[in-house]
């Protein structure tokens, strides 16, 4: 009896998740900007995955352009031409997409984890803890983000991982505030009150009511942090604080700029990474905004 009960519950939970997912999917499919974002994103995802098929990793090595002309225009051999030391731009672009995405996503994970924890705690806890967390959040909200990220990058080093952590560490404040606000509204909800009246402890309330309630918001918010993280990465790399040995898109722009490619119109060197940054940021932004529209509790009720 009991087992059958819990099986049904589990089945029901899964059915609900499936349904929730298919609802989101359905709504997303009908949300044109969001769907375009998703398509763009899948395109970039495939692009990043296909890196080994397009170019060998060794073509990223400095010496790999040994026998190639420098800054050669696109040709059948080099679809996007070569850079100033004769390396295939396409190879760097495709492997760079991995670096940019990796940094963007890892930074987002860091930001979302910190942001969610702080947001949840600040929203749920009362009194001094909440005040202290809020003050910290306020602080990170006003501290100028780029200088702080640069300084931290200088301190912690330049590997993609540390860069991602730095970016994540400096960009959680907004989501913490957002999540806190949502937690506050959620804990005012009558069903949370009801759970408390049923004798529920904080743990139950957080796990059963608050977390599932903020999860969609966290997802939507995360989708919107990725593009800022990618932009930050490209800015840091462009300013020369990126990892020199990882060909991220920002690094490519830095290379293009310092080698004078813009002036001699080697468009194949600076336009592709620039457009890729715009494209991926646009993709995540479109998707994130669509998810926000879909998940937004204010719009849901109407």
């Amino acid at each position: 009896m009991r087992e059958s009960g819990s099986t049904t519950v589990r089945a029901m939970t899964w059915a609900r998740r499936r349904r929730a997912f298919s609802r989101v999917w359905r709504e997303l499919r009908h949300d044109r900007p969001g769907f375009i974002g998703l398509l763009l994103l899948s395109g970039f995802g495939l692009f990043a995955l296909s890196a080994p098929l397009i170019a060998d990793r060794s073509s990223l090595l400095a010496a790999s352009g040994r026998n190639n002309p420098d800054l050669a225009a696109p040709s059948s051999k080099f679809l996007l031409g070569t850079d100033e030391i004769g390396r295939d731009v396409l190879a760097q672009l495709v492997w760079g997409s991995r670096v940019s995405l990796f940094i963007g996503l890892l930074a987002t994970v860091v930001a979302v984890v910190i942001g969610s924890l702080v947001g949840l705690a600040a929203g749920y806890a009362k009194g001094k803890i909440s005040a202290v967390l809020l003050a910290i959040d306020d602080f990170f909200l006003v501290v100028p983000f780029l200088p702080l990220a640069i300084v931290l990058a200088v301190i912690l080093g330049r590997s993609p991982t540390t860069l991602a952590i730095v970016i994540g560490f400096t960009s959680w404040a907004g989501s913490a505030r957002l999540i806190r606000a949502q937690v506050l509204t959620l804990s005012e909800r009558a069903y949370v009150e009801r759970a408390r009246a049923l004798g529920a402890g904080s743990w139950h309330v957080i796990v059963r009511h608050v977390l599932p309630g903020v999860a969609p918001l966290i997802i939507a918010n995360a989708t919107l942090i990725v593009p800022t993280a990618i932009l930050t990465e490209s800015t840091l790399s462009f300013l020369g604080f990126g990892d020199r040995l990882s060909p991220s898109w920002g690094k490519l722009l830095d290379g293009a700029q310092s080698s004078g490619s813009i002036t001699i119109n080697a468009w194949w060197y600076f336009l592709p990474p620039g457009l890729c940054i715009i494209g991926i940021v646009l993709a995540f932004t479109l998707l994130g905004r669509a998810l926000e529209r879909i998940f937004d509790p204010r719009l849901k009720g109407r």
């Binding site: 020199r244 040995l245 700029q257």
Partner: protein
């Protein structure tokens, strides 16, 4: 349309108006003949006791006098402050006779006192830029126009004495303690130009010094303008904002050299500047904590064999330079090492591997990195954050990895890197030198006496390398007055340096400079035909430059057109916005 919307439009129109007005100022109403030079390096310090960048030297060359000058053609010694000189028989004592009526730019007389004061204080306080020239020298004033210089040892450099002479009446007020912080903003000049305006990080403007004793330059003013990127600087040259630029990115220079850019010529000058990978050789008399493996000559040689210098020249210099294997001690190529191509270091990873194996560094744990007695061959590799300085790093680290040497790359600002070097706490680091004309300086840097022994004092021996034989040879050439014999001694020093390999000298690079050929002519190179125009040893070009025809003119008309276009656009936008109101559907029922 509501008042608010009008407010928006008004603000927009104001913006447009300002932009248009801004455009109108491009017209230059300059009647002075100004030569604008773009540089990507900001001035380090105009204080001759602390500055060390080439831009600092360029400005000192223009503002500070010296007893003798160098010819533009072949660096031969020319009179400057001194109109003549005589030597004692032993060649140790020299008397310089100063020109008559020398004056500083502020009108104070320039006398033997100034010379003696400068030399004496420079020796006493150990000023870096005077140190090597004056190491063994004492000076006394015989009268106000005669200076007697005594060298403790025979000095092949004399009678050339190019040390900058400072105005005593200014510098005697500055204590030794205050000296490092002195801004050198006195603007008292004894050279052809004097500083008239300086905005840090922006520009330095120099005007002709009326009290200059030499040839009167044609140009009225020289402006050095700082740019953050070489690209922006190049664009400024193209746009006509600048007349000359240094440090043209190689690819841009290639296009200029190919004649693809109108009105601009490129001159690739060589004065022996080279880049190297310094290897901490762990001199027993020095301090520091270099990797144990690097104390082994074979390992250092292996590093030299692992590097493809020709590829660096092709890719990083686009061919504007040549591979190098030993020190370039002088701007004069006559002092370069003489070595046959098959003996010189070349790209031979097999040889590098063999040498490393021989030295006992083998990859016993198969992690791709060689090791010995439990120590991994993993080296701290430091480079500079200076723009462009890091280009070689991916190449070098890649090649080192190929032969089983791991690297841990860290980037420093130049000051911090020098601090690390002063402590000799590094394994490998990249740096570059631009040698003087006389090889003595460059050679002196690798004597034991220049090995850092106190981090606060440091030393030029940045490979932390010492060799008694080299030291002995150095002292010999230092007092060898016969040029042929001296050249032989230097060649012997080269051989030791080559074999000991404290450096992996990478290449000798050209200074890539570009000029407005439609505006200027007479680009004096030093030395003639091969040397650079800007940032040369004694900067003669500024005295020789001549304008081509008349300047300016075209930008004015351009600007007028733009002003009109901008006004029309602004007007159009206003009208369109105003009309919009009528098109608005009245209500949204």
């Amino acid at each position: 349309m509501s008042r608010r919307a009008l407010g928006f439009i008004a603000t927009g129109a104001l913006g447009f108006g300002l932009l248009a007005a801004g455009l109108a100022t491009n017209a230059s109403a300059q009647d002075k003949l100004v030569f604008s030079v773009g540089v990507t390096q900001d001035i380090d310090s105009l204080n001759v006791t602390v500055g060390y960048l080439v831009i600092d030297f360029e400005i000192w060359n223009l503002t500070l006098p010296s007893l003798t000058d160098r010819s533009a053609e072949d660096f031969s010694t020319l009179p400057s402050m001194a109109e003549s000189w005589t030597a004692s028989d032993d060649g140790l004592t020299w008397r310089y006779k100063l020109r008559e009526g020398l004056k500083w730019s502020d009108g104070e007389p320039m006398t033997a006192d100034d010379v003696v004061y400068t030399i004496t204080r420079a020796v006493a306080d150990g000023w870096i830029n005077h140190r090597s020239d004056l190491a063994n020298i004492t000076a006394t004033a015989i009268d106000s126009r005669t200076v007697q210089v005594v060298s403790a040892v025979p000095d092949p450099k004399l009678p050339y004495l190019g040390s900058y002479i400072l105005p005593k009446h200014v510098y005697e007020k500055i204590s030794t303690e205050e000296m490092p912080n002195y801004l050198a903003d006195d603007n008292v000049s004894g050279g052809p130009f004097q500083i008239v305006e300086r905005k840090e990080g922006e520009f330095v403007r120099l005007a002709r010094n009326p009290n200059w004793h030499g040839k009167k330059p044609t140009i009225d003013e020289v402006v050095f303008r700082m740019y953050e990127t070489a690209e922006a600087q190049f664009n400024a040259l193209k746009a006509g904002d600048l007349d000359a630029i240094d440090d043209v990115p190689v690819k841009l220079f290639a296009s200029v050299a190919a004649g693809e850019v109108e009105n601009i010529i490129g001159l690739a000058g060589n004065q022996g500047s080279f880049s190297e990978l310094a290897i901490n050789s762990g001199c027993a008399k020095g301090i520091g904590d270099g990797h144990v493996a690097l104390k082994d000559r074979k390992v250092r040689q292996a590093i030299n064999w692992a590097i493809d210098r020709q590829l660096l020249v092709d890719k990083i210099l686009s061919g504007f330079g040549v591979p190098a294997v030993s020190l370039i001690p002088s701007a004069n190529p006559a002092f370069d090492m003489k070595i046959s191509a098959d003996e010189a270091y070349s790209y031979d990873p097999a040889k590098a591997n063999a040498l490393l194996d021989e030295a006992g560094w083998k990859d016993s744990n198969n992690d791709g990195v060689r090791d010995k007695d439990g120590v991994e061959l993993k080296l701290r590799y430091y480079d500079r954050s200076t723009a462009g300085a890091t280009a070689t790093t991916p190449f070098l680290t890649g090649w080192l990895k190929d032969v089983g040497i791991a690297t841990d790359v860290k980037t420093f600002d130049e000051d911090s890197l020098i601090a690390e070097q002063s402590k000799s706490e590094f394994d490998l680091y990249t740096w570059g030198w631009t040698p003087y004309v006389d090889p003595d300086n460059m050679l002196s840097y690798f004597t034991t006496s220049q090995v850092p022994t106190d981090p606060d004092v440091g030393g030029y021996n940045d490979a932390n390398w010492c060799n008694d034989e080299f030291d002995a040879l150095y002292l010999k050439q230092n007092s060898e007055l016969d040029p042929t014999k001296r050249a032989e001694l230097i060649q012997q020093m080269h051989e030791i340096f080559f074999d000991e390999a404290p450096y992996a000298v990478l290449y000798k690079y050209d200074n890539l400079q570009a000029f407005r050929s439609d505006r200027w002519q007479n680009f004096t190179r030093q030395p003639s035909d091969v040397g650079p125009v800007l940032f040369s040893q004694s900067s003669p070009v500024y005295r020789d430059l001549e304008p081509v025809g008349t300047r300016g003119g075209s930008s004015g008309t351009n600007t007028m057109i733009i002003v009109i276009v901008a006004l029309v656009v602004a007007g159009g936008v206003l009208v369109a916005l105003a009309n919009r109101r009528k098109e608005d559907p009245d209500d949204r029922q």
